[in-house]
Structure formats: structure tokens, C-alpha cells
Subunit: 336 residues, 6 copies
């Protein structure tokens, strides 16, 4: 089996327990996460080899992050240790009508100081068939964007499939470049895209046209495809936010000709929705390496649906759990 490789920032997640407000706590749950890492952790759980490229500080906190990746069989053999600090995000878990709140403390992170030339991409991609990145990575710093472009180029040269999740974050992109000038050439070398209308507007000023939901989705896919000829498949997830504890969840996958539509799930009593998009991306990559497109989509939606019941950034469900849900069992019965 060939490896899936991703590049991105790993963050320390400090979250309040039991829906407490920041001012009520004197302890934080401490976990590690980050969009691209979450994607890989999902894939590793499903059984494919994966490797993560990031930069971590050379201290005990960086070491702990390495150990956590070891635990979930995420390869860490090419991470250049160094820099000042691990980025952090503080999470106040919401419930019901009160949404979760994130306070970022990721400025000046080790990852933001990664440099071109630090990674021997030829070596990294030797046994790999896929490279994944998200819009967060180039949003962190010029250096991170440069390394990401460097990876995309080597990946294309070596014939890997390149995927991206648009993942637009308004509070990034602070280093003097617009998202559009950075993203345009990068997306132009990608084959699989997890898009979204808001991000497509922010990055590329694309406005889908149509009156029905479906027409709008198809229009968005076509406009992206017209802009970026490299793109082969476009996925779009659809979250209906009824409350912080109750969402609906579905997705589509456009393969150039057909718009595959997934089942729509009703998810109440949500445990943790952070990382749901990443779990979709991870399961989609796994699926596209394993199934036909329609099945890959359904696998990805079912997997990410289950993510809403898993604490933490990463989806820790097994392939069997996902397939059971795909098979139609949403009953939540006790498995003995």
C-alpha cells in the first residue's frame, strides 16, 4: 500500500470540560489536532499508511505531540524539529443554542517558520501516492505557503494525486498577501478538492448561479473546474446547524460529469463537531483509494457523521463502524 502524505500545522487544543465557560475552569483537556493531521489520523485508523509533515518545537510539548502521532500510526519520520512554540487553540465547548468558541494562540508557531529546503520531498514521496494540504497551511505564513507549493510541485512531478480542502480561515492570511494570489497557483495543481461556496467566494470570487440547491452546487463545481483544469473531483459538505447539539449533515461529489449526492443524516446529541470536515476529507481520500466514487462519498459522509460523536479533533472510528452506518443502521443499539 502506498502512503498518504499531508503537510500542515499541528496545534495543542486546550478545551474546557462539560460545557464550562473559560472563566469557570481551572483545568483544560489537552489534545493535539490540526486539519491535515486529522485527515491522516482518520486514514490511519482505516488502515492505510500515512505520514505527516509539520514543524514542532524541540521541547517536551513537541515530544508529546510526536508520541500522540506514533500512537495512531501517523508517520513522523521527516519532521524538522525547531522553532519557538507549538500553536495553541483554546476551545470553549458550547451546547444547545450556544455555539463553541475558539480562541487562537497560534502566532509565531514553529510551523510558521518552516523553510523551503527543510523537507526532502522526493524522499518523503518515495512510497506515496497522495499528497494532501488545506487552505490553512498557506494561510499561516509566507514560509508555510512556500513549502506547501514546493510539495505540490514535487508531488505533481512524481505523479501523486494532490488533494486540498479549501478551509478558509478569516483570522489567518496576515502576512501581506491575499488568499487569492497565494491559492490560485496552488489549487491549479490539485486533483481532488473539498470546496465550499463561502471559501470559493473568498479565495476566487466565484459566485455559483442557479435557483435550486442542486443547481447552485453544480454551478460551483463547474466554475471551479473551468478555472482549474487540473481538478478531477470536487466534494462539498452541507451542514445544517439547528443548534450546537443538533445538526444535519450530507455531501455531494462531482466527478466532472455526475453530481453524486449522499444520504442526509440527522445528528442530535452531538459530542464534538470540531474536525468533522477533516474526517470527511480523510474518509474521502481513503474511499477514493478503495471504492468507486459514489461509495467513497457515502463512506466519507457516514464516517464524518460518526465524528460528531467522538471527542477530540480526530475521527477514531473503525472502517467497520462506518460501514455499519452506511448499511443503514442508525439505531445506536448496544453492540455486545
Amino acid at each position: 500500500m502506498k502512503k498518504i502524505v499531508a503537510l500542515g500545522e499541528l496545534l495543542l487544543r486546550l478545551s474546557t470540560k462539560d460545557y464550562l465557560k473559560f472563566s469557570q475552569v481551572n483545568e483544560f483537556n489537552a489534545d493535539f489536532g490540526g486539519s491535515e493531521l486529522n485527515v491522516l489520523t482518520s486514514i490511519a485508523k482505516f488502515g492505510l499508511p500515512v505520514e505527516f509533515i509539520t514543524r514542532l518545537p524541540k521541547n517536551d510539548i513537541g515530544e508529546s505531540a510526536l508520541m500522540e502521532m506514533n500512537k495512531y500510526k501517523v508517520g513522523t519520520g521527516h519532521i524538522p524539529m525547531g522553532g519557538d512554540r507549538l500553536g495553541i487553540y483554546f476551545l470553549e465547548k458550547g451546547a444547545s443554542i450556544r455555539g463553541s468558541k475558539i480562541v487562537y494562540d497560534r502566532a509565531h508557531s514553529s510551523f510558521s517558520t518552516i523553510q523551503k529546503g527543510m523537507i526532502d520531498w522526493k524522499e518523503v514521496f518515495k512510497d506515496a501516492n497522495w499528497f494532501h494540504w488545506s487552505g490553512i497551511t498557506p494561510g499561516v505564513s509566507q514560509e508555510a505557503a512556500d513549502v506547501c507549493m514546493e510539495a505540490i510541485e514535487v508531488a505533481n512531478e512524481m505523479g501523486l494525486t494532490v488533494s486540498t480542502d479549501f478551509n478558509y480561515r478569516a483570522n489567518l492570511w496576515k502576512y501581506g498577501k491575499t488568499p487569492q494570489e497565494i491559492m490560485e497557483p496552488m489549487v491549479a495543481k490539485c486533483h481532488v478538492v473539498l470546496a465550499g461556496d463561502y471559501a470559493s467566494k473568498q479565495y476566487f470570487d466565484i459566485d455559483p448561479e442557479g435557483t435550486t440547491e442542486k443547481e447552485l452546487l453544480i454551478s460551483l463545481c463547474e466554475k471551479l473546474r473551468n478555472r482549474f483544469s487540473s481538478i478531477q473531483k470536487i466534494a462539498i459538505t452541507n451542514r445544517g446547524s439547528i443548534s450546537a447539539s443538533h445538526n444535519t449533515w450530507s455531501a455531494v461529489l462531482h466527478d466532472g460529469t455526475t453530481l453524486h449526492e449522499s444520504e442526509s443524516y440527522n445528528i442530535t446529541h452531538i459530542v464534538d463537531r470540531i474536525g468533522a470536515g477533516d474526517s470527511f476529507m480523510g474518509a474521502l481520500i481513503y474511499g477514493l483509494n478503495t471504492y468507486d466514487d459514489a461509495t467513497a462519498l457515502n463512506f466519507a459522509v457516514a464516517a464524518s457523521c460518526l465524528k460528531h460523536t467522538i471527542y477530540g479533533d480526530a475521527n477514531l472510528v473503525s472502517k467497520e463502524e462506518v460501514e455499519n452506518l452506511m448499511g443503514g443502521d442508525q439505531s445506536g443499539r448496544v453492540q455486545r
Copy 2:
């Protein structure tokens, strides 16, 4: 800005974790609360200066209560320390079809032994424009009722607005007086009232008339206003209890001529509904000091709606969080 002052009992709240029954636990969460204090904590979070008058025992538990009030910027500069003990309530948190259960252990509290003359109300009210009390305060003891009447009278003399929350508690009023004989002269000097049909019946034998819900509400307001000419505004909250975890919530405000009706909220996955009425009262007082009546009502309903997602007695949401919900966003989306 002028201060909001309140008089009432502060209780130590000992609650079970994770919906456990009393017989299952060997630890309690320990927090401080009490109807009038909860009102002030809300107001302080919104940014107005507040001061709480109560009586606390001169020991480490009383000191801890003071520190907790400091934390939330509730003024404690005029609290006469002394007496035997801090009142306690034990809370077994319910869920679903099982309601929460409260065991009171508040007899013989320090607050029940507060005495007329202990508080220099003229001094306390110097920079204040509002005095609040609830029906719990005079229900505790003759002494507490006397001090409350003393405060109401000075407040009226000094031109403060006086508000009350009827808050009828059947397990109080054990010192030989009927609620009616005590409450009648006190409510007669109040300007803003948080009423309710059950409490109005218990205290004043008032039966609203009408066939529709709205007619009954208007009737109740008119009867109260006829009985107590001082009253300028009457608010009434309306809780629909579908289960311990699912309620509906709305309120009305009658200003003498108009019955303002709030939006009605559907609140599932309730975190903690204790103190929701107090959070309404606090936000209403804040609102009446800040907005027009209709907005004040909507602010109060939205604030108290959010209280159902906050652990503890007091509402710790910010003005921005309330205004966001008032603006219509009930989606509970993650705020980054």
C-alpha cells in the same frame, strides 16, 4: 453609571456530577448562588456596577463566597459578617424525564439572622439607582423581612427604582407569618415586578380571568396593577417543560398599556436550568437601564435562554453573546 443593589441570601450549592443520584456520589461540585446574587452577577457581566447585601459567616466558607463575588465584580463592601452558617442546597441534576431534585439545608443561616440597623442603606444607595429583592428574602425569617422592608423604604425615599421577583417558595415562610401579610406592603412600594400566576395566587389570591393565554396574562397584569399602584412594569416568563433536557422559553412585559411579547425559544440539550429566572431578571434590569421596553424584554429572554447552557446558578454570558442570539442566530455554529 449608577449601581444596582440587591438584598438576599447567598447559598452554597453542592451538586452531583454527570446526572448521578445522591447515593452514587462521593464528591460534590461546590458553587455559590442565590436568586438575588444571580441577578447581580448577570448584570455585572453586562457591565453595570452592582452591590450585594447579605450576611455571611465569619469563616473560611464565608470568605470563599466573598472571593467568588469579587471574581465577578459583585460589590461586597457592606456585608455584615457573622452568624452561624452559610445556607446550603444540595442539587441532584436530572436529565430527560427525570427532573432535578433539590434538598435544602438553609435553616439557621447567617442571613436569617441579619438585623435591622446592620446595614447603612443611605450609604449603600448613595451611588445607586436601583434596588432589587425577591420573595425568597422575606420568606427566610422575620429579621430578613424586616431588613428588606427597611431597604425598600430607604430606596423609595432616595428615588431608586425598586424591583422584585415574586419567587414563591413553599418550603420557606415558616416563621409564623403568612406570605400575604408580609408581601403586601413590600410589593406596594415596587416599580418593576417579575410575577407569575402561581405566585400571585399564593401571595395575593389573585386569579387572572380570560380564555386565551394572552387574555390571562393581561388580566394578571391588570389585577396586580390595580392592587399595587406603584407598579410600572410587570414581566412574566413562560416555561414549557417537555422534559428536564428540553424546554420552551418566552416572556411578556406589560408596561401599563402594552403587552410586549418576546420570541419563543426551543431549548434542547439543557446544561443547567437553575437560575434561569434570575438571569431573566438580571438581564431585564440591565435592559431597562439600557434599551427601550421591547428590546429590554427580548434581551432578557435571549439572555435567560442562554443561561440554560451555562453550568451553575449564574448567567455568565456576555452582552455580545446575547445580542447575537437576539439577532436571530440560534445555529450554535463554532465561533472562531
Copy 3:
């Protein structure tokens, strides 16, 4: 009051907290449970004397189990200590669309090595009027089945009512006998049965006939009654699994002539559904000793409905709480 006696295995339950996956935890909640014990704990909470017969290892874990039974007034005076180990089950608590997962580690347990002659059933049943067992007990080992048959026979001789819960578990019955050959003679001496169509099919190859749900239920009861003439009453519970956090719950009781049907409850925000069937059985036994059949059924359904809100294997609600729910109050209001 006469005692209710039961025979069965007591297990150590090791469960993850807060819906975490097994791989995420470094601590387990530790509780004791087991189908027949859960039945007795319920009954003891309602006020009848009970006694449990099992086998426990002679070590500190076995001692702790004894103490837990003491706590809930479950008699332990005739338990033959010995054998290798306490059976264990690991529980990964699910939520929403992800069901709970149980990993059994009960092989080679002390209970599986109980022997005929270890229990002086005449002595045990001296002050008793009821003996209860479930299909789990004979499924554990030939020895456990033999002791169960021994108890059933003495109970019949001494005029006790004998009840059973079919409780079919596919992962038991590994000692070389089919469930049918073992269960047939045992059920043939029972008077009250908690049945179910799946278990009836597995144990006795019974297929109910009919088109409506009610016809099927009556058919099942009649077929069981035709097969086992000793049976006087048959109860069947009906769980609708909408998700791991949302179920519907009702039951019927057939007394030979009439099919009593209970109210149906809608239970959202489930806290812990393990042991709900046992809590039904316990409340039914209590009810049949206390009320008429229809009331007993309603009591049992209301009690087991409340079990879904109680952490742990056993139902710890009081008779008053059940009667309050039977009386129609599902509002979950705070009880002060």
C-alpha cells in the same frame, strides 16, 4: 414481607467516561452489575427484602462487590466465595448515532464454577416467595445451568413463584449444549416470563403469526403458553431505537386472557440504557407483589423508563419517583 431471591452472575463493569473511545482513556469507571442483581437492586430500592446467590472470588475485588450489595440492601448471606476471578465487561458508552459497545471478559469466572450442592436452597428459600433467574445464568456454564435447575426445582417444591427473563446472549452458550435443550425444561417450571420474539425464536424456534403488532404479540404469548403450561404471565418490552440517545419504550403484559398495554414513552437525552430490561423485570416483580396486573405493568414501564436517566447497571429510583411518572408528570421540572 417475603424475600425475592435471584441467581446469577455479578460482573465488574469498566466503562469509559464522557463517550470516549476505549483507545482514548486511561481510566475506567468501575461499577458492579449483572442482569439478576440489577433486578434485585431495583426491588430493594422499592422496599422489599431480596437476596442474591452468585459466586465471587475470595479477594479484595470480590469483597468490594459484597460491600456494594450491602449498600443497596441486597442480601449476600449465602454466597459461596471461591473460584478464580470476577467476570468483567468493558463498556464504551456511545451517543447519538454511535451505539455503546461492550467487550466481555467473563470467561473462567468464579460464577461459572459454581457447583450443585454449594447452595442450601431450602435454607435460602425459607422466608422467600419468589425466585428469579434469566437466560444468561444457564448460558454461562453447565455448572451454572445445573445450579439454576436445582434452584428452580426446590422453588417449585416450596411453592415460590418462579420468574425468568429470556435474555438471549449469542456470545454465551459455549459449553457444548444448545440453548434450547437447556432452556426447555427450565422455562417449563416458570410462572412469570419476560419474553421477546428474537429470544423466543432462538430458544424455542417460535414464530409469532399475525399482521399487526398487537396480533404478533398475542400470538407470541399464546405460543409460549401452549408450549409451557406453567406460565401465568408473559411480559414483553418494546424498545424503539431512534439513536443511542433517543429511544421509545413501552411494554405489554399478557395474563392468559388479556393483553395489557402500557403507555409509550419518548426518552431523549438518555444517560445510560444498560440494565433497562432488568429494571423493568425488577419493577414488574415488585408490582406483581403489590398492585394489580395493569398497574404492575405501568409501574414497571415507568420505572424502567426512568432507568434510562440513571448511570450504572441498576435502577436507583424510588417508588415515589416512579409513581410520579406513572401519574403523568414527564415534565422533568425541578423538585424543590
Copy 4:
């Protein structure tokens, strides 16, 4: 085996975790304790039947206290439920040079309102051979003192051994009587006494004479014996407080002619020293019912030495653990 009976107050103990100060915590460990109950719990762990007489409020907190006594096989069959509240003590656990701090909240407790005639002592003492009380009991209220005297008299009539622990508490004795006038006639009917020089001075104005420690101890015993002819055995414990985490511990037992002296233990890394005196008393009562005087003393000292390593009010060590320490093994080696 005959029962050991004791009369006293049961308190809810709310303690801070991990040596935190009261102002640092938002949760308390919750346990039950009380001098005379602690004595009985020890004895029950060693295997003798025991019964506790107290008064508990008729609420869920009182019920939980009953269940805890059930757990440790402390008989509760004659407890008159009623009164306002369970007494509480708050415990701030100290370490090193900072001692633990106790804040009492026991005024107006249910036990303080126990009344003569509530207990049928003849019935209680039917199968008993020993009655124990401590100086705390009559210090609580006139009513408690009356009931204690009532019990002592019936115990003497019925030929039980009566033991007392002087246990002087300066913050009790607030009901208008001096300790001396109350204690004098009560101690005059006791046979076994756990005394101490400070308490003997406070209660009876006794000043031991002598120059060596041993002379002083013998003098104290003789003066007590001269004052109270009923006394057969006097025990005195000796704690050397090097710090909150490091004590020395020994005791003597005077049987009228001989002063038995125990081994002296050096106890560092103390886990919880609350209740050590009670554990001594419990083990002494057990020892005097089981061994000769010298062995009883050594058993009691070893048992109470181990108590310093047990969290909570009560000593939960087994007879085997005590005998192992008596045998000289203080090594704390791992027992596999």
C-alpha cells in the same frame, strides 16, 4: 457474637482535594464520619457485629448516610429519622508544616434534637455486650446528653461493658451546662476509658503528678480511677506531631495494676490522620473482646497507625493487615 453498640453524631465531611485551600476549590470530596461511627466501622471491618444509634434527617442526604453504613455492615435498624439537617464539617487538608483546618457546620443538626424515649435501649442492647460513646455526644446538646445517660444506665442494668473516649471539643458544650457537671455522672458508669491529660483537666480538673512521662501517665490513670470506681481499664494515646505529614504514635493501657506500653511508630507521608483516635478506640474494643490486654493494646496501636494511611474518617484495614504490622513488618513492601 454479641453486638457492639454506639451512640453519636454522624457528620457529612466535605474535604478539599490535594491539599488545596478552601478558596481554591470548586468541588469537595463527600464522605460520612463521626467519632463513634468511626469506632464501629473499624470493629465491623474486623468482623464483629455492630449497631449505630444516631438521628438523621429524612431526606436524600440522610438516606445516603444510611447506605454508607450498610456498605460497611454497621447496623442501622434503630435510627429515628427526623430533624432538620445533617451536621457537616468542612476539612481543608494540610501538609508539611501547615496543619489541616476544620470548619464545623453542625449546629441545629438532627442528632442534636434526639429525645429521650426515642430509642428502645432494651431492644437495642438485647444481643449486645458493649456500649460506646464519646465526650462529643453529650457536648452536642442537652437532649443528646440525656439520651446518652439513658443508654449508659440501661447498659449498666443489662450488664454491658460501657466505654468512652473523652474526646474534648472546645467548640461544643454551648447549651448552658459545663462539661464537668454533665460528664461526671456519665463517666461514673463507664468501665473502659480512652483518656488524655488535656481532656481530663478540662472535664475533671485533674492534674497528673510526676516527673517522667511514665509517672505522669500512671498518676493520671490513678487519679481517674480514684475519682471513678467503675473504671477498669484506661487507655491513653500519645501523638508526637513533627509536622502535618510526620507523626509518632504510641499508647498505653492501664488495667488497674499494670501500665502496658505499646511499641512506638514513626509515621511519615501521612495520608489522613482524622479519625486515628477513633480507630484506636475501635481496635481496642475489638482487641479487648478478642485478646489479652497487652495484645489488645498492641493491636489498637498498630491498627490506628495504619489509619494514618487511609483516606476518610474510618479505618478500613483488615485484621490481617493489622496483625502483619503488629508482627513487625513496617517495610511497606508490595504484597502480591
Copy 5:
């Protein structure tokens, strides 16, 4: 009473529980601390008004820090909110022969970006008589050093006493200036100094001379005084590190003519030694405002000795607790 003012950085402290290694935890205790804040918290606990000047980010973490200061009555009225982030330090608590380990993550903090002119020192010092800073403050950044110098100058102009704790930290001082060039002019305007031989060497290349410990101490004091004529009093603490759990602790105070020497304490079973030096400084400032020099020294040593038993950065003991220890009671007896 006049205020004590301090300037410094406030850090979020994230510590492992129960002596766990960083790699073993998935939660951190979260507290706030910082050398100069710790000094003020101590003083506030003893009863003097205090005010802290720092810079905090304008987010929920900064707000929580403000609330914590409110709780302990540390004034926060002049803190300019802004900047990127709150500095963090990770603490792995050691025990026995393994020392605690700190990982700093304080680069790019809000405090490091404080600017001259942000603080109206005339206003801040209006009701103050004392200004305190430590060597950490100018070590953070040029900007912090500038603001500190600004404060020292205004304080001198307005006649305040200025104190400093040398507090040399090798991992600071990274902005291109040597500690010596920065510290020299600042210490030259100080009146009370907490010095140390290592810091004196690092900052000012001072080598004390002499053969006995006392000669060396006196030499150090004289050399400092010769170098900085403003200095009136020099304190030096002396820690003997036997293990992470066992230290000795004493101090001296040189007033220009006399070297006062404190009692030496033996502290085993240390709970938390972080902040002990700060607690000494705080108690010394309180003492010098309250007692004579010798008593101030003894108060400071006793207070900081107790700090070793208090979890967290700040010393939360009361004046009574300190005076009790000063009075010679190191027994750690239970205070009832």
C-alpha cells in the same frame, strides 16, 4: 492604607497533575501566576490594597486572568488590554529526586509589547507608597524594560519606596542588551532588594568575599550597597535542596548595619515550591510596612515556608497562619 503597586508579566501556568510526565497527560491544571503578581497576591491576602500593571490580550483568556485577580483583590484598573497572547509556562511537577521541569512559551506575549506612555504612572501611584518590580520584567523585552524604568523614575519622584527581586532568568534577556546594562540604572533607584549571589554575579559581576557563610552574606550586602547607594535594605533567601520534596529554608535581612538572621525551617512533603521566593518578597513588603525589620524578616520567612504547602504560584495563607508558625508551632496539628 496606601497601595502597593507592581509591574510584571502574568503567565498562564499549565501543570501536570499528580507528578505525571508531560507525555502521560491529557489534561493540565490551569492557573495564573507571575513573579510580581505573586508578590501582590500575598500582600492582598494579608490585607493591604495592591494594584498590578501588566498587559493582557483582549480575549477570553485575558478576561479570565482579570477575574482571577479580582478574586484575590488585586487591582486591575490600569491594565492596557491588547497584544497577541498571554505568555504560558508548562510545568511538570517533580517529586523526590526528580525536580520539576518548566517549559516556557512566553515569547511574543502581550506584556512584551507594552509601550512607554501606555500607563499613567502619576495616576497609578496617587494612593500608593510602594512600587515593586523584578529582574524578569526588564528581561522580557526592551519595551518592558523601558516601561519599568519609566515607573521607577516616577515612583522615585513621587517618594514611593521601590523594591526589586533580582530574579535572574537565563532564558530571558534575548533582545540584544546585556542584563548588566539594563539593570544597573534601574537598581540604582531602588531601596529594598531581594538579592542572591548568583544573580549578583550575573547582573553586576559581584563576588562576595569571606570564608564563613555569614561573612559571604555580609560581603555581598556591602558590595551591593557600595555599588548602589539608594539601597536601604537587602534580603537574601537560602534554600537547601535535599530533594524536590524536602528543602530547608531561611533568609537574612541586612539593614545597612545589622545582618538579621531568620529561623531555619525544615520542609518535607513539599506541595508546590514555585513562587516561594515571590511569597517571601510579598511578605517582606507587608512586614516592612507593618513590623520592625527583624519581625518583618521572620514574617517573610514563615510565610514563604508555608507557601511550599500551597498549590499554585501564589501564597494564599492568612496573616494568622503565618503568625502561628512564627510563634513556633510547626506541628501541623489539626485546627478545629
Copy 6:
């Protein structure tokens, strides 16, 4: 670098928190351990590649054990999954004069059913230079002993160094063979031995001769060497048990001619002494692969000394921490 391989049983460790007795807890800490695994985890932390051979059940508990080994970089690539269950040990942590207590529940484990031929030892040892086992492994079952012998033989053939830790456990060896008949031929093919006089007596009836401690040690080493000519180095640790919280610790290493003696450490405030012997063995293997004999011994003693401060079965200290202690710094100072 060549791999270190070990064969042994992996156990789930369920331990009580905070020195609580088994009967006091309703939760257990859950960790994984086992003598030979602990050895490897230590070595992996120091930086050498390691691989563990065991058998684990094919369920979520077995999977979690695999993940934990991944985390610490213990290779798991050749583990044959299967069998009934993971062995468990329950640990009641003692303190002071009360030792820790272990209750084993390891009968019928997956490891006890490992079979000859399941492991391709040639493949496993391909990149290895060392094989380690302990006396626990053959004590578990005949099958485990057979597999261990199989490994020893292949290791000898392939020129690996073979080490063993005698590790005598009285509660194993229940399958009908004496320890001596099994151990004799196995030890006869070992090169490095961690011995002990008690185990040497139990296994081989060896009685050392001499009067001084040193003579006895040399005698034991010589007798072992005379019996087993393959042995090149013998290590013996020496624990002085002053209490459960205070031990002394040292060791010797005999290389055939010289008896190297280590420094002796005084360890108070022990956090967790389980696995100290294993940590010695691990550090010794690392040391013998890295240093000369005398340094290896000192490294091993210092490392295992630090183990007493680390929670859990395995030693998680780094090489730097060990070398710092070897260098003489036992002060436990804070490392910033």
C-alpha cells in the same frame, strides 16, 4: 542500531487513585505494563529500537494496548493476536507503613495460550542483537515456557546476547512443572542475568555463603556462574524498605572478575515503585550496549532510582535526566 527484543506478557493495570483502598473507589486508573514490556519501554525512551513479542486478544482492549506500545515506539509488528483475554492486575497503592497490594487476574490470558511456531523468530531477530525474557514468562504456562525456550535457542544460534531477570513469582508456576526444571535449561543459555538471593534459592536452591553483605553477593554470583557457564554478567539490586514511601536503592554488577558497586540512593516520597526492577534491567541493557560495565551499572541504578518518581509500570525518564542524576545532582531543583 540493532534491535532489542523481548518476550513476555502484557497486563492491563487497574489501580486505585490517591492511596484509596479497593472498597473506596468507583474508578480505576488504567495503564498497560508487564515486566519485559517495561524493560523495552525504558530502552526505547533512551533511543534504541525495540520490539515486543506477546499475545493479545483481538478486541478493543488488545487494540488499545497496541496503540500504547506505538506511542512509546515499542515495535509490535510480530504479535499474533488471539486468545480469550488480556491479563489484568489490580493495584491498591499503599503509602507510609501500608504497602501496595496487588490482586492478579491473569489466568486464562491470551499470552498463556501462545504456541510454538506462532512466531518466526528468525525474522524477528534479523536486525536484533539482544533478546530479553524474565522468569515470569515461563511461569505463566507450559506454552509460554516452550515459546520462550524456542526464542532463547534461536537467539543463541543467531548470536544474540540473551538476558534474563529471575523475577520469581510464587503465584505463578501452576501448570504442573517446578520452576527449577523449567528454568535450569533456559538460564543455561543466558549471558546477562538480573539475579537475587531469594529467586536463586527458589529456582536453583542456591545458598550464598559469607558473613558480610559483599561476601554473600560475590558468593551468589560465583555459584550462579559455576552452575551456568554461559553467564557473563550478573546484576543484583538491593532495596532497603523503610516504608512504602521511603526506600534505599543500589545494585552491583559482577563481570566474572570484578564486583562493581553502585552508589546507594535514599528515595523518600516515592510516587510509584512498581516496575523499578524492570527499569533497572532496561537501563542496564541500554548501558551495556553503550557504556563500560561500571558506567552501565551506575546508569541503571540512577535510571531505576528515578523510576520511583514516575507513575505507571514503565520508566519514562530521558537519558539526560538519568545522566544528570548520575552526575550527582539529587537536589530536585526546578529546571527552567
